[in-house]
């Protein structure tokens, strides 16, 4: 891979160069599991097209949320509310859909409005996160922790403490399609599109430069004329919209509006993005790295689940990988 950068680019990170850390981790996990599973004689299944589809299907939601998390981490923030927001989005979507259907709306119109409402709910949560961080000057950890509680609570309240199913059990076709484990799944392709857009925004636009600048050194960025609060609000709002869209896919995958969905999603996603080379200190991270991080986590969970590798192994491996990756990054930077 060659780095594409305009000649007059500021000394920003070599943004399109691939990080080596995540690739090493990915290969290590792949080989480790191929060996473990090969010994049990299940390698054919592990490397089958069917399993690849499963991996892509299950990775779609954390990957889309991960794109938003990547933006937030690069800008020097963190978003702990994503899991709860995803749950809230599923509930809002189902509530709106059910209400419109009850008023005699046709399925396509009711679906479209419900989806827009769901994504908007996600965007709204992100926007509020951004305001809390900039206007009230709250630390992102605290602001989004508050949102985490509020979103989960509102979701449970809106769902009246139950799981909401489609009225009459009639699931619309598009929900069934999004739920299907297939390489032709539109949710998966929306991830591809969103990943490309995010990469373009980060690496080829002024906003992208500003996000990296704010995360690298906020004071310097301000002195250079970057509107820091505006950039931050934008970052959290974008992350909110991405989480909202992930919520729609969660809605389809789970065939329900369910306030208990997405538990610990925030931790999974943060782990994945950090394994992918982003830093909690801000200013670092790439789309490819984040997606690789999600792939590594997905691979570990998949191998553990399908081949009766002990579940403990999953947690230990993820923990070791996380520590090794961050330590490696620190050591390399210190060595320079």
């Amino acid at each position: 891979m060659s780095a594409v950068s305009s000649p007059d680019a500021p000394p920003a990170p070599r943004t399109l160069a691939l990080p080596t850390g995540p690739w090493v981790g990915f290969v290590a996990v792949l080989v480790l599991f191929a060996l473990l599973i090969g010994m049990k004689g299940g390698l054919g299944t592990f490397l089958s097209v069917g399993n690849l589809e499963v991996l892509l299907h299950e990775g779609t939601i954390p990957a889309i949320v991960g794109l938003g998390m990547l933006l937030v981490l690069i800008s020097g923030g963190i978003d702990l509310s994503v899991g709860a927001v995803v749950a809230l989005v599923t509930v809002v979507t189902m509530r709106v859909y059910t209400a419109l259907q009850a008023q005699g709306w046709a399925v396509p119109e009711a679906s479209a409005v419900a989806v827009v409402a769901g994504v908007a709910a996600g965007g709204l949560c992100g926007w509020v996160n951004g305001l809390l961080v900039t206007r009230l000057d709250l630390p992102p950890f605290v602001a989004t922790l508050g949102m985490f509680g509020i979103a989960r609570g509102v979701a449970v309240w809106l769902a009246e403490r139950t799981t909401l199913a489609f009225p009459g059990g009639a699931t619309p076709e598009w929900v069934l399609d999004l739920g299907r484990t297939s390489i032709a799944n539109l949710g998966l392709w929306s991830l591809v599109a969103l990943a490309v857009i995010t990469a373009v925004v980060l690496h080829l636009t002024v906003l992208g430069r500003h996000i990296y600048a704010v995360g690298s050194n906020e004071a310097t960025a301000r002195l250079c004329g970057v509107n820091v609060p505006r950039t931050k609000v934008l970052v959290y709002t974008l992350s909110g919209f991405l989480t909202g869209w992930a919520g729609i896919i969660m809605f389809a995958h789970s065939n329900s509006g369910n306030p208990t969905l997405g538990e610990q999603l925030e931790l999974d996603v943060i782990t994945a993005v950090v394994i992918g080379g982003a830093s909690l200190g801000g200013g670092k991270g790439t789309v490819v790295g984040a997606l690789l991080g999600v792939a590594i986590l997905g691979l570990i969970k998949n191998g553990v689940s399908l081949f009766n590798v002990p579940v403990e192994m999953q947690y230990i491996l993820i923990g070791v990988l996380l520590l090794a990756n961050v330590a490696l990054n620190r050591w390399r930077r210190g060595g320079r």
Binding site: M1, L18, T20, W23, V24, F26, V27, L30, V31, A34, G38, G41, G42, L43, G44, T45, F46, L47, S48, G50, N51, E53, V54, H57, E58, T162, T163, A165, F166, G169, T171, V175, L176, G179, R180, T181, M250, H253, S254, N255, S256, N258, T260, L261, N302, S305, L306, V311
Partner: protein, 349 residues
């Protein structure tokens, strides 16, 4: 670096082809609601027993027991179904966590050509599975009422004062038990007095104790019999009665069993309980699934979709009998005959 990945994947490919599993083996994936409850362990043992019996008849069946760690992890159960279907399962035995939301993935499974057998709890979409194998909870509730009313009549209480201590809102299986109990008790004793039918025990033994405390205090001088429709509600209720010295004076009818509850039956603190047969549930569902895969008609042309695995009244007299032990004890389960597992034990304990 990416090139390295591709070359490694390529290098692994021939291995993958070489390791393809034998094709004559049938893989049945049994997916419970959760992994921890003893109930599901019995289902698992029943499925394994079926595989062993089939092996003796020359049919190789592999059982994979895979479920969500937590009972309310709805997405994970859907994930497991899709994952297993995509990676070579021959048939699925599923205890759906939710009767409506699980319909989509069952439909996908059926579309992929795999037979699905639903166990334990119902599914709202009857067109995409081959059989529903479960306890008849309504009938279990009826049996509970018959036994409790009978015991009360033995004490000369022909107009008993009853309490129905409900479990939780929206729990389909326990609501069926409560309905069966109420219907039968009203039929047997039209002039029974119902002191309370609107208190809910909640999910745990602790919550049951919290709810039962005030209830017992309020009616302790009047109540004759109480029905608690599951293990935790009954255990919590018995704890409260014992602490107030009312055990054995108030007759408690329970549903399901645990070690403490069985001991309460032996001690006479609980007059009886209705037990399910999860071992047979696991056995029969696997058996139906395999037979369906072998082209047999397992539901009489979709006219016989339901199969009850039985519900049994357990009392002080039979609590330690071989039959009752066979419902939950692993070694007694292993001693049950293949014929009784397939055709039903017949008779009562």
């Amino acid at each position: 670096m990416p090139r390295l990945v591709y070359s490694i994947v390529l290098a692994l490919c021939p291995l993958a082809v070489g390791c393809g599993g034998p094709t004559d083996e049938i893989t049945i994936v049994v997916i419970p609601k959760g992994m921890t409850h003893e109930h599901w362990q019995s289902v698992h043992r029943g499925a394994e027993r079926c595989a062993a019996d089939m092996a003796a008849e020359g049919v190789r069946v592999r059982i994979i027991f895979d479920g969500p760690l937590r009972e309310r992890d709805a997405l994970e159960q859907i994930r497991i179904v899709d994952r297993r279907v995509a990676t070579g399962a021959s048939g699925i035995v599923l205890a759906p966590q939710h009767s409506k939301t699980m319909t989509a993935c069952v439909r996908r499974t059926a579309d992929a050509g795999l037979p699905v057998v639903i166990i334990d709890s119902g599914l709202a979409d009857p067109d995409h599975f081959v059989k529903y194998v479960a306890t008849d909870n309504y009938r279990g509730g009826c049996l509970a009422a018959e036994h409790l009313i009978g015991e009360l009549k033995k004490q000369g209480k022909t107009r008993p004062r009853l309490i129905l201590f409900r479990y939780a809102v929206g729990s389909e299986s326990t609501e069926q038990r409560e309905k069966g109990f109420e219907d039968t008790a009203k039929q047997l004793c039209p002039d029974a007095e119902w002191l309370s039918t609107d208190k809910y025990a909640g999910a745990t033994r602790d919550s049951a104790m919290r709810e039962a405390g005030p209830l017992v205090l309020q009616f302790k001088d009047r109540v004759d019999g109480i029905f608690a429709p599951n293990e935790s509600s009954a255990t919590g209720l018995v704890d409260v009665l014992r602490s107030q010295g009312l055990n054995k004076k108030v007759l408690v009818m329970a549903f399901d069993a645990s070690k403490p509850l069985l001991q309460s039956i032996r001690d006479g603190n609980v007059v009886g309980s209705i037990l399910q047969d999860p071992y047979r549930m696991g056995y029969v569902s696997t058996w139906v699934c395999v037979r369906s895969l072998r082209g047999e008609d397992v539901n009489g042309g979709r006219t016989q979709m339901n199969l009850s695995t039985g519900e049994y009244v357990v009392t002080k007299e039979n609590v330690d009998s071989e039959f009752v032990l066979g419902l939950f004890d692993p070694s007694a389960q292993a001693r049950r005959s293949t014929r009784s597992l397939r055709e039903g034990p017949g008779g009562t304990p």
